[in-house]
């Protein structure tokens, strides 16, 4: 484990299994995902909606099953064997995730339901304690609704102002005027590591340094980066980072907020209840220490342990290898998809993006594209992908999106392209 918090931590299950950055054995990986063997409408499933949610390997399914069959109990409460085992596994999963993102220590990793809840936690707790009328929060035009709406709610309540880094036509952020957007009143700079619509990989370190120079804290939405590439919070130097377990081979209902210990320590609780307290009296209470101060009520125990197993799987495959494989597949997909008549890809060139391709296809509505492809067992996303402002920026109501993960193949891209030709045939006006 990196760094030292000077505290004992049960990390018995965190032996590092980082593999070398060798190429992925995709057929072996595919065999680990039972769902990839299923058929849809009599055809083999081609799952290209990974930016929305990923599939789960056998190791994660087994972990969940084993937990419920052998261990199931509440954590941090019982003194019986099952409760002790559940607590140990639950905290070991936290330690594993902490190490996975390069955190200094597990106490900086707060379990949440997902990234959305993690951002809300920061907005409600840090935001309400620290922001005053006239303070500013800087976001970008490419944010997911999860990194817009909590700040809009806070803005309406506290009289703070929101500013936005604009997006250029090619889908990259316009950073020329960043110094002007980061005003002396800007208290927080929140942005995504990678756009879930146009796929742009943002220069996180450069943006973080600019934010810090202006005296702002930096919140990184890492939903599309943590599952797909090596991420080290200490190297990035951000102050908060959020991500969701279900997008990284883990179960739904588990995500995390990572925050700097001194900032988290100074923040008031988010929700009140059991587990987040040290002492409770009828009229007052004292809070538990990190990370439990922010984890009221019985948490998503099985899901957290399942996420630990997912992280172990990702580490075995190797994040650098996953990232490279996805970039290769994306470059191939962009080249093949541009052969389709009337298809326009949104966003930057392949070398500036992660593993997804959003597009429009002539006048064909994205819902029709996705529904027709579904008829061929190809799953893609259609709509605004929870990023309506970015679609407004491009003057379109919706787009279609194919997004890749470690189990996707060139053959699947070929099937997508074949399907898209068919879509043109069916819907051409």
């Amino acid at each position: 484990m990196k760094g030292a918090c000077g505290e004992e931590y049960d990390a018995t299950m965190t032996q590092s299994t980082h593999s070398q950055s060798t190429a992925l054995d995709v057929s072996a990986i595919r065999a680990d995902f039972p769902i990839l063997a299923r058929q849809v409408r009599g055809r083999p499933l081609v799952y290209l909606d990974n930016a929305a949610s990923s599939q789960k390997p056998q190791a994660v399914l087994d972990t969940l099953d084993r937990y419920y069959r052998q261990t199931n109990a509440n954590v941090h409460r019982g003194v019986h064997t099952l409760s002790e085992e559940a607590t140990a596994q639950y905290e070991a999963a936290r330690a594993r995730v902490s190490e996975f993102i390069g955190a200094c220590c597990p106490k900086e990793v707060i379990w949440t339901r997902n990234a959305t809840e993690a951002i809300n936690l920061v907005a409600y707790s840090w935001g309400r304690a620290n922001l005053q009328r006239g303070d500013r929060v800087l976001l970008t035009e490419m944010e997911h609704h999860a990194n817009l709406v909590p700040w809009q709610i806070l803005a309406a309540e506290r009289g703070i102002e929101l500013d936005f880094v604009p997006v250029a036509d090619n889908g990259t952020l316009v950073l020329d005027n960043l110094d002007r957007l980061l005003t002396p009143r800007t208290r927080l700079f929140g942005f995504t590591a990678m756009s879930n619509v146009v796929g742009t990989l943002n220069p996180v370190k450069e943006m973080t340094a600019a934010g810090h120079k202006a005296g702002a804290l930096v919140l990184l939405d890492a939903c599309q980066s943590v599952p797909h590439m090596p991420v080290d919070v200490q190297d990035l130097d951000v102050d908060f980072m959020v991500f969701s377990g279900h997008k990284m081979l883990g179960p739904t209902g588990i995500g995390a907020l990572w925050g700097r210990r001194e900032i988290l320590n100074a923040m008031p609780p988010f929700m009140g209840g059991g587990d987040m307290i040290r002492e409770v009296h009828l009229r007052e209470s004292r809070w538990n220490e990190l990370p439990w101060k922010f984890e009221a009520g019985t948490p998503a125990i099985a899901q957290a342990i399942g996420l630990g197993a997912a992280v172990a799987y990702l580490e075995r495959a190797g994040l650098a290898a996953i990232h490279q494989a996805e970039r290769d597949l994306t470059a191939y997909a962009m080249q093949r998809m541009s052969e389709v008549e009337g298809l326009r890809i949104l966003g930057p060139a392949a070398d500036q993006r992660g593993g997804l391709v959003s597009f429009v296809l002539g006048d064909v509505h994205p819902h029709d594209i996705a529904a027709a492809l579904d008829g061929m067992a190809i799953a893609i996303r259609a709509g605004h992908h929870c990023a309506q402002p970015l679609h407004e920026r491009y003057g379109i109501a919706a787009s279609a999106r194919a997004s890749f993960y470690l189990y996707n193949t060139k053959e699947e891209v070929d099937m997508l392209v074949k399907g898209l030709h068919k879509v043109v045939e069916i819907f051409a006006l």
Binding site: D368, A372, A397
Partner: protein, 125 residues
């Protein structure tokens, strides 16, 4: 190809009936589905408390456009009272396909506009 895009649906999508504007509509109603970007403007010409003519414009997916086209053909000659009784099934019967929970709002957008238009007229009276 899948049932959702039966020949008749695609025909109405590619060649929508009553697409355009009326010269002097008695009623105009605009509605949209912001989440998927479907949009419709429905114009009705009313005579003797019945639909004498109809036109629609807008953009959307094949399902919503086909539903608007088929609905427009069907409502001419119907009384406003009859149309007030129209429901989800009226449209699904016209479409003649199974529409799942996600696409149902596409199919029902034209009906939503129609109901708002005819009930709106009722209120004015």
């Amino acid at each position: 190809m899948m049932d959702l895009y039966a020949e008749e649906i695609l025909d109405h999508y590619k060649h929508p009936r009553h697409f355009g504007h009326l010269d002097d509509p008695s009623l105009t109603y605009h509605d949209r589905n912001p989440l998927c970007g479907d949009e419709i403007t429905l114009e009705l010409k009313i005579a003797d408390n019945k639909v004498a003519d109809v036109a629609f414009t807008g953009h959307g997916c094949a399902i919503s456009r086909a539903a608007a086209s088929m609905m427009s053909e069907e409502i001419i000659g119907k009384s406003l009272d009859e149309l007030k009784d129209w429901n989800k099934e009226s449209i699904l019967d016209l479409l003649g396909i199974e529409v799942g929970p996600v696409r149902i709002k596409c199919a029902l957008l034209p009906l939503k506009a129609l109901k708002a238009a005819v009930w709106g007229l009722g209120e004015d009276e």
